[in-house]
């Protein structure tokens, strides 16, 4: 039983947490790609920026003495999301829109987004320094433990992890309803499908572009804040995971929001399974091993330092069999 609990803690809990963060990031990347046709490399830093917005708001809340039963970093989200959306809109207005209006090629926008990446990281370091910060300096991070009969360990997960998974489910459901029920959401899918025909149909494409940045910016802030609540806040918080996020978006089929969610969880679980130390689960079988065989102390498929490669192995394998990603195989 100890081994099962260990597996649940290390794989199910960690995998769902990582998968949720990747999924929220990849949805934004895929929406931007679908509408504007370029790989938005600065998306990771939009997540980090969103987390810092929440951090500032949480500090302000603490300063005026607001105390809540849930983590303050989570409570401030209704205020942080609109600020992050406005920041995303102004980044588009200031850097990408002028380039689009001149009809540049997507590769130019990609390079511009790398510039935005460096700029955001620089600004964050300038104002906040390079140190790690925690949302939980003045409040306790609650840990839930579920005791399992017959096991010494208990299944444990933290409050931010639970909140992350719940908000991911809520955000994904809301996005689904928006894309399939609302006029603007359908217009967004129409523009991603065929931008010329969308324009010919009289769809206000500028409005769709703004809606895209609002959604992508808010989801990035959500993902960044939840990630910072789970681990800690630092200037390169999400820059480190922008590559697996892109891998997740591509695995799911670029431009396909449901694919991005599936891709996010696929990559998240693949990474946690790959670095999982299997010897701890196999320990009960050490007595039945043939003579001379011993269980190595570390039996993970990939050393933790090489975790990043897992996303790309998954990417290559999926693209070999489905060159357009998991979800796009059948149509178009």
């Amino acid at each position: 039983m100890n081994e099962l609990v260990f597996f649940i803690n290390k794989v199910l809990v960690s995998g769902s947490v990582l998968g949720s963060v990747y999924a929220l990031g990849a949805v934004g990347v895929t929406l931007i790609f679908g509408i504007l046709r370029f790989a938005h490399f600065a998306h990771g830093d939009m997540m980090t920026m969103g987390a810092f917005v929440s951090f500032l708001l949480a500090a302000a809340f603490a300063a005026i003495g607001i105390q809540t039963p849930l983590p303050t970093g989570f409570i401030v989200l209704p205020f942080a999301l609109p600020i992050a959306a406005a920041l995303a809109l102004s980044i588009d207005r200031g850097f990408y829109k002028p380039l689009r209006d001149r009809g540049v090629r997507p590769v130019t926008l990609l390079i511009a987004s790398i510039g935005v990446t460096l700029m955001i990281q620089g600004l964050i370091r300038l104002f906040f320094g390079v140190s790690n910060r925690s949302f939980f300096e003045n409040e306790a991070k609650e840990i839930f433990r579920i005791a399992v009969i017959g096991a010494k360990r208990s299944i444990s997960f933290s409050e931010p992890q639970v909140l992350l998974i719940i908000t991911t489910v809520v955000a994904v459901t809301a996005l689904h309803l928006f894309l399939t029920r609302s006029r603007l959401g359908k217009g967004m899918r129409a523009m991603a499908d065929n931008a010329d025909l969308a324009r010919v149909s009289g769809i206000n494409t500028g409005e769709v572009v703004r809606a895209t940045w609002i959604i992508a910016g808010s989801l990035a802030c959500l993902a960044g804040t939840m990630l910072a609540l789970d681990v800690s806040l630092k200037p390169d918080l999400a820059f480190n995971i922008v590559l697996p996020i892109f891998a997740a978006a591509i695995v799911g089929g670029l431009g396909h929001p449901y694919g991005a969610i599936a891709g996010g969880f696929l990559v998240g679980f693949a990474e946690t399974l790959a670095v999982f130390n299997w010897s701890s689960v196999l320990r009960p079988f050490k007595d039945v091993l043939p003579d001379g065989w011993t269980l190595p102390s570390n039996l993970s498929l990939v050393p933790t330092d090489y975790k990043l490669t897992v996303a790309f192995v998954i990417l290559v394998i999926v693209l070999l069999f489905r060159p357009t990603g998991i979800f796009k195989g059948a149509s178009t």
Partner: protein, 234 residues
């Protein structure tokens, strides 16, 4: 009372102009057909009217308003719709969603218009929940026309609607065009299939080298020996 009039249109894609002074006048109940050799600028006339190609000289008047170089998203609310030749449906969306996108500019209840589109194209009713990309070529063309009709246009511009269709579907497209016209929509279309299209045209224009060559009723043009010899294959 002319619905759409263009005079002296000079337009192109940046380099040498494709159109070198095209005139046209279409009445509200017309089926007007533009024919001519490949590369004559037939499609460019439609694109110049619909604001997809910049007009360098000349002007376009729609329903009394000067609309020269107006953008598509301002023209659709004024009562103009365009069916491109290719990529004219949203393949990843259902038939019904395609129609809804045609009505995107409308804030009123468009269920009646949708019912009338399904009346016109009964084949689509049973496929309404299916992705448009999964339909046959003829059905896709119906979706494309239906989408364009959802904004309740006075003028429907169609770029080679029969291109790439099998003969049976081609015949259907011409029947659909007549049905749309009988419902009170003016149709201005470009056709490669010149003889068949002129047979249903109340007005025909032959365009060559970016200029008007012949104008008349569809029947006049079919019977004109010069037109027949040079442009209708004898």
């Amino acid at each position: 009372m002319t619905l759409i009039a263009a005079s002296g249109l000079v337009a192109g894609y940046g380099g040498a102009p494709i159109l070198n002074g095209v005139d046209l006048e279409v009445e509200p109940d017309d089926i007007a057909v533009i024919v001519g050799p490949n590369g004559a600028g037939k499609s460019t006339v439609l694109k110049a009217i619909f604001g997809l190609v910049a007009v360098a000289e000349g002007n376009v008047v729609f329903d009394g308003d000067d609309i020269t170089n107006a953008a598509p998203d301002t023209l659709v609310p004024m009562g103009m719709s365009f069916v491109p030749q290719e990529f004219n449906i949203f393949t990843s969306m259902t038939v019904e969603e395609n129609l809804e996108m045609g009505a995107y500019i409308r804030r009123d209840d468009f269920s009646e218009t949708m019912a009338s589109v399904y009346d016109m194209f009964p084949d689509l009713l049973s496929k309404r929940r299916q992705k448009a990309g999964e339909l046959s070529g003829g059905q896709r063309q119906m979706v494309a026309m239906g989408r364009a009709l959802m904004s309740k246009p006075k003028l429907l511009l169609m770029d080679e609607p029969s291109a790439g269709l099998s003969p049976i579907y081609m015949e259907q497209v011409f029947e659909h065009v007549q049905r749309v016209n009988r419902a009170g929509v003016c149709v201005l279309m470009v056709e490669q299939n010149a003889r068949r299209a002129l047979a249903i045209a109340s007005k025909g224009l032959v365009i060559a080298n970016g200029r008007n060559r012949f104008t008349g009723t569809g029947q006049d043009l079919i019977n004109d020996p010069d037109v027949a010899k040079s442009f209708l294959g004898g």
